[in-house]
Symmetry: C2
Subunit: 418 residues, 2 copies
């Protein structure tokens, strides 16, 4: 561990969340305070901003705007989905990164994202170490999917869960308003991990939830789904609300949206482009029963609904950014910040901050424990409620001007050569 003096670079990557900028605020505000850090840069569009020398001088920003970042959704610096090649096969990008780091004397590198971004961060960390350039690399976690390994929960998850639970409570009241049959299928994000779909049980905890909840952890049968819905309708005045993860798949691993006829475009990481399975299932039930049905997709709103952010999430996410900088300045490298669940002296939930090896965080997905999935794969146990409820407490949102949120506006003063 060397006592490095130099510039800090921060970049955001992957799908944004409603609180991802709270980490940016934490990193920036802490880095601006640290004596060892001589300049604070924010890269445009993740690692691409580093490769292209497209980054901003954060010292030129007003502190008021940096604080507003805490409640500004989406990635203020811009995000990217760019997969670094295996350095053994093609190290062009890695060489370029080291070149840029040397050129701007970057001694601290913070990369903010989910599994794929931690993979990128891990690769960069390993290459830089090997290259001989001294630079402390710390991953700052982020993902509404809540599927990062080694952390109790992920920054961004709780706000999405709060959005989903609140919205399901409201949709529950709306969808059941008529005296006629109604089946509503609500689709939420989540490819391989069903944490977001599971959040529907928080609404159920309040008596206004979903009747059926399907996670990608359990293979999905279309026939069983139809039978489950008919069963709920028979017991429940011909009304049913079902929540499904976008990533539900059959026993062979084939996505239900593909099974039901959609072509599966793939993104640059090879993931299937999802969406639409809720509408497909609603349509299927309509055809099977003749009932009025509705497919509701929570789409981008569930990850950018900062007006419903959890204060617990916002504050923890901000702190995660600060902890990353503090750890790096203590000489730590090649780690990701994680949350550990603790209790205070009154027995209440408390979050502690720790670190885990980047290698472990990269590409290891944490899914919902199978024994939390109950009722023959159609509901979620109270263990999840106990887990998630402390995380959605409190409200934190942007100040309102003219009845609408006042989000941060960064000056984005160019610091790279671009």
């Amino acid at each position: 561990m060397k006592n490095l003096v130099g510039a800090a670079m921060f970049a955001q990557s992957g799908g944004p969340t409603s609180v991802i900028n709270a980490s940016a605020a934490g990193v920036f505000i802490e880095a601006l305070k640290q004596e060892k850090i001589t300049a604070v840069y924010g890269a445009a569009h993740g690692i691409r901003g580093v490769l292209e020398e497209d980054f901003y001088d954060i010292s030129k920003e007003d502190m008021e705007e940096l604080l507003l970042l805490k409640n500004t959704p989406s990635s203020a610096l811009g995000s990217v989905r760019y997969k670094l090649k295996d350095a053994k096969k093609d190290d062009t990008d890695y060489k370029r990164i080291v070149e840029v780091f040397k050129k701007y004397n970057i001694r601290y590198f913070f990369y903010n994202g989910g599994n794929d971004s931690m993979d990128t961060c891990n690769k960069i960390s390993k290459y830089i170490k090997k290259s001989g350039w001294d630079c402390n690399v710390i991953g700052v976690p982020k993902t509404i999917d809540n599927d990062l390994f080694g952390t109790d929960h992920c920054p961004g998850f709780a706000s999405a869960a709060k959005y989903i639970a609140t919205t399901i409570m409201e949709v529950n009241l709306d969808a059941k308003v008529y005296d006629t049959p109604m089946v509503c299928v609500i689709e939420v994000m989540g490819r391989n991990a069903g944490w977001l779909a599971a959040s529907a049980v928080l609404a159920g905890h309040k008596g206004l939830g979903a009747d059926l909840i399907y996670l990608p952890e359990i293979p999905f049968s279309v026939e069983k789904f139809v039978s489950d819905v008919k069963g709920v309708c028979a017991r429940n005045n011909n009304k049913c609300i079902a929540v499904v993860s976008e990533g539900i798949h059959d026993a062979s691993g084939k996505l239900i949206c593909e099974v039901l006829g959609e072509t599966g475009a793939r993104d640059s990481f090879g993931h299937a482009q999802l969406g639409g399975v809720g509408a497909q299932l609603a349509n299927l039930i309509k055809n099977e029963t003749g009932y009025k049905t509705r497919g509701v997709e929570l789409s981008l709103m569930q990850r950018c609904g900062a007006h419903l952010a959890s204060k617990t999430d916002v504050e923890e996410t901000f702190r995660a950014g600060r902890e990353a900088v503090k750890a790096a300045c203590r000489g730590t490298t090649d780690k990701m910040v994680v949350y550990k669940r603790d209790v205070d002296k009154n027995g209440n939930y408390k979050c502690k901050y720790s670190l885990v090896n980047l290698k472990l965080a990269a590409n290891t997905e944490k899914t919902v424990p199978l024994d939390w999935i109950i009722n023959d794969g159609t509901y979620i146990s109270n263990e999840f409620v106990d887990y998630a409820l402390p995380l959605i407490q409190g409200e934190s949102k942007a100040p309102l001007v003219d009845g609408l949120p006042r989000f941060a506006k960064l000056k984005k003063v160019q610091a790279g050569k671009k």
Copy 2:
């Protein structure tokens, strides 16, 4: 105008809103105070509750829960879409209504809904008058569509507008986060009137709006849409956010969702069942340009998102319910409550309450003035901003318990024979 003493019946009808229960709270709380009113009933599922003697004794409810109704979305009593026949052709339902009114000595009748519901209310009002049964009938307006005649704006509109504008600001930040082309088409409700789609301009007023806004007031050309989007993309780094009303149609009146291949199921009022045109247009642009596109439908959330309600709307809607009862108790009948825009002594927006003949309110739709639709039918003028901005001011939401809203829970003590 007779000094009637007897029971009051209130019913909710049509698509619910996030504040429709604020009117219920206003009617109930005011009616419980009035000496002339001997009992207060709430009908289950609109007029059907009257026909089937399925209604509740509101005096049995706790005042705390009645006040919570102000922030509880959807129709707490249940709604209905039931079209009364022309009394000249078949007066079965009307005879039954008078029979029930006589049986329970109902002297005050309040019907809460939009255009179709005011049609129902108007028909009942006229028939009852002819029948010789003295009963004061007052319509209580409600519709996110904002298309009722004779009122400056409609209860429920402002909260939906606030939801739409806030959500578009958040989606704008999210959808533009990558450094790759992105076209996002956001679909909002509105069959014939584009007030909700126009609300997108409030987000634009904050610099985070849509690039293109299409209302059903102007015939929609698919070819022009594609050209408009390409134009925005060329100027704007290959990014475009478009907002469309579900009811956009071509010059012949044919819905675009039908033009683009959807079969048009019809509801019991003969309205086409809409939804999906945003996704269709997003798909079309994807095919035309190869860009990543996303169709986002604000679906039920825009009408039940009580967590984002406008305080101005909530308080005005509550007051509209109280004004309906006061007017009826003064001896008024056959009217609907309306809002008149006024200014206070400081020149600030102020709402005044008045009445309009039911006949005028029934089935007359108020659309967006054509001269507010600018840029060759693709944007909305500042006149709309001046009109709508005062209406979305302030916040009013249910108290939170465990981080989630605590909505009203009515006991629903049966008062009819059912």
